[in-house]
């Protein structure tokens, strides 16, 4: 199970990659494995202001639907439109082509509250 070192993580299994004041968000390898085959992703509207901890997207597999929470606050500046036709990318490449949405950071200090790779690995071990 991959947990890239350079990313930040939320306890609810979202990851964040920060570039130029923008946070790219997706779900972790562990999360996609737990969900099983992803069949549909409901993404937020571009331009929507989201706050950290808010449920902003939904990922559906055949038998379940999971809320995805915004790890940071800010405006949604892009969503991964390729997922509409290819939701399987979330399974195949969770840290790459399976990204979900991008948020312009309102408060970079919020990143400090997120887990680093080591802390997230410990969380996964604790969850068994």
């Amino acid at each position: 199970m991959k947990v890239p070192e350079e990313l930040r993580y939320r306890e609810t299994h979202e990851w964040v990659r920060v570039e130029d004041g923008e946070a790219l968000v997706g779900i972790t390898d562990y999360a996609q494995g737990e969900l099983g085959d992803v069949v549909y992703v409901e993404l937020p509207e571009v331009g929507r202001a989201v706050s950290a901890g808010e449920a902003v997207a939904v990922i559906e597999s055949v038998k379940t639907a999971s809320d995805i929470y915004a790890p940071v606050s800010g405006e949604v500046v892009a969503v991964n439109e390729a997922l509409a036709d290819h939701p399987e990318k979330v399974n195949e490449d969770p840290y790459g082509e399976g990204w979900l949405f991008k948020v312009r950071l309102a408060d970079p200090a919020e990143l400090e509250a997120l887990l680093d790779a080591e802390a997230y690995k410990r969380l996964l071990e604790a969850e068994g």
Partner: protein
């Protein structure tokens, strides 16, 4: 064993041939443009199939042969009460099909009398003071009942603070969904180690912010909530209304009543407890009974008995309004009425007791064959089992199809992993239960010995396991869709 299935059946649209005609229906010479105006006419006719009547009959008869029902096989689907419904009830319903809901009340006195009397019977059986027969199904009844509670709190000026509905973690999914549709926030209450509602945890949640508690009793583990009287008393002390989900009433009909337990509202699934076949997913009916303090809020119209006959009452100031057009699923009401007249109180009580006897007996048989029962209390009309360690509920279910049985409900309630929820009902014989248990035993034994075999089941059905990922990623919901 196993079923006898017909081969692949094409779609009715694939049997269509241009110019072929089916049933000869009445018609009248008419010029559509003169009747409707040319601008209102449809340019191309809807692409309905063009088939002869025998083709229609053969097509759907063969489709029916790719379908199992209670008429063809044991169907122990937990929480669904798949019992045999006496066939005379179908004949009973046909006696009333010619009536129109907008007829003069004087011309439908028999139908209104039937509705009134059925209401009286259901009130007596549930211990309630007033009833509406309008809701079209159990979940529809839930919505009606929760809206009645909402209107009650609103009327008392308490709705602004009472925003929460409590449901146990073992509840049917329709309970939280209903509460959300009525604008409430849902909070789950945990079950205790015995599988009953954790009374202390529930008491901690109670308060002025709570509008209602929704409970099923016996609950979805098949267990009667033994502390129900303390529970309802504590809730009432906090001004909270008690909602009884009647999905499991079959276990206790005639033996105990929700009204006596302290419930303020109850919905009944007439298509479960009171003998209407499920029809592959309805129609059903979900009457809602309430205690006197909630009666003013019931939906309209209600049937009233007056010295001059039966009439429909629509002018009730505090009513939540309508929840369905006309008078509800009247045909289902006829079947429920007829069933109660056929059985009488003694018959209903005996049916309930035999449903419990069958379930308890089957539970013991399955335990002897390696199945686990995590909440093994005095279960009633149903119980929740788990396959032997190493087997998955879904695989056991699929293997049962090759044995000629419909599987139990799987993966519900959510608080039991790999749940097999089994409700045999009172209309099944001891031989059937024995045979089912034998089949479950064979499946457990072979499944453990041969994991590949059980993962591949079923083998004898008209289709094998279907590609649900494909169906959900790129759903094709009609002929020609996405082609």
């Amino acid at each position: 064993m196993g079923f006898c299935w017909p081969d692949q059946v094409p779609l009715i649209f694939e049997r269509s041939r241009k110019g072929r005609r089916g049933t000869l229906a009445p018609r009248r010479e008419a010029d559509p443009a003169a009747l409707f105006g040319a601008e209102n006419l449809r340019k191309t006719p809807p692409a309905l199939p063009e088939v002869d009547e025998l083709t229609v009959l053969r097509h759907y008869t063969n489709l029916s042969r790719r379908q199992v029902g209670v008429d063809t096989t044991f169907y122990p689907l937990g929480s669904c009460t798949m019992k045999y419904n006496p066939r005379v009830l179908e004949e009973a319903a046909r006696l009333f099909v010619g009536l129109h809901p907008y007829q003069d009340e004087g011309t439908v006195q028999g139908a209104l009398r039937l509705m009134f009397e059925l209401g009286e019977y259901l009130k007596a059986l549930t211990g309630m003071d007033a009833i509406t027969l309008q809701p079209a199904a159990g979940a529809h009844g839930e919505l009606t009942g929760i809206l009645v509670i909402r209107a009650y709190h609103e009327d008392r000026g308490e709705l602004k603070k009472r925003r929460v509905v409590l449901v146990p973690d073992s509840a049917h999914g329709s309970n939280p969904a209903t509460s959300a549709m009525a604008g409430f926030e849902v909070r789950e209450v945990p079950s205790d180690a015995d599988g009953e509602v954790d009374l202390e945890a529930l008491k901690r949640e109670l308060g002025e912010h709570v509008a209602a508690i929704m409970l099923t009793n016996p609950n979805t583990l098949g267990l009667f909530e033994r502390r129900i009287l303390s529970l309802t008393e504590a809730a009432h002390a906090a001004g909270v209304q008690l909602y009884y989900d009647g999905a499991n009433l079959n276990a206790i009909m005639g033996w105990a009543r929700p009204g006596d337990m302290g419930f303020d509202v109850v919905h009944l699934n007439l298509h479960k407890t009171f003998a209407t076949p499920h029809g592959g997913g309805g129609p059903g009916a979900g009457p809602v009974g309430v205690k006197a303090h909630l009666a003013p809020y019931l939906p309209v119209p209600l049937v009233e008995k007056t010295p001059a006959g039966y009439r429909l009452v629509t002018d009730r100031a505090k009513s939540i309004g309508r929840v369905r057009s006309f008078l509800g699923n009247f045909g289902v009401l006829v079947k429920a009425y007829a069933y109660i007249r056929l059985m009488g109180l003694a018959g209903l009580k005996r049916a309930a007791a035999l449903s419990v006897l069958n379930a308890r007996y089957l539970k013991e048989l399955l335990k002897k064959r390696g199945y686990r029962v995590p909440y093994d209390g005095p279960t009633m009309h149903e119980f929740v089992a788990q396959p032997p360690e190493g087997l998955r509920a879904l695989d056991v279910a699929k293997a049962l199809l090759d044995e000629g049985f419909h599987p139990p409900t799987v993966y519900f309630p959510l608080i039991v992993k790999e749940a097999l929820m089994i409700e045999p009902t009172e209309t099944e014989s001891r031989e059937t239960l024995d045979a089912f248990a034998e089949a479950m035993g064979r499946i457990a034994e072979r499944g453990l010995a041969d994991p590949e075999w059980i993962k591949g089941a079923p083998y004898t059905t008209p289709v094998r396991r279907l590609d649900e990922v494909k169906a959900n990623r790129r759903p094709r919901l009609r002929f020609g869709h996405r082609e």
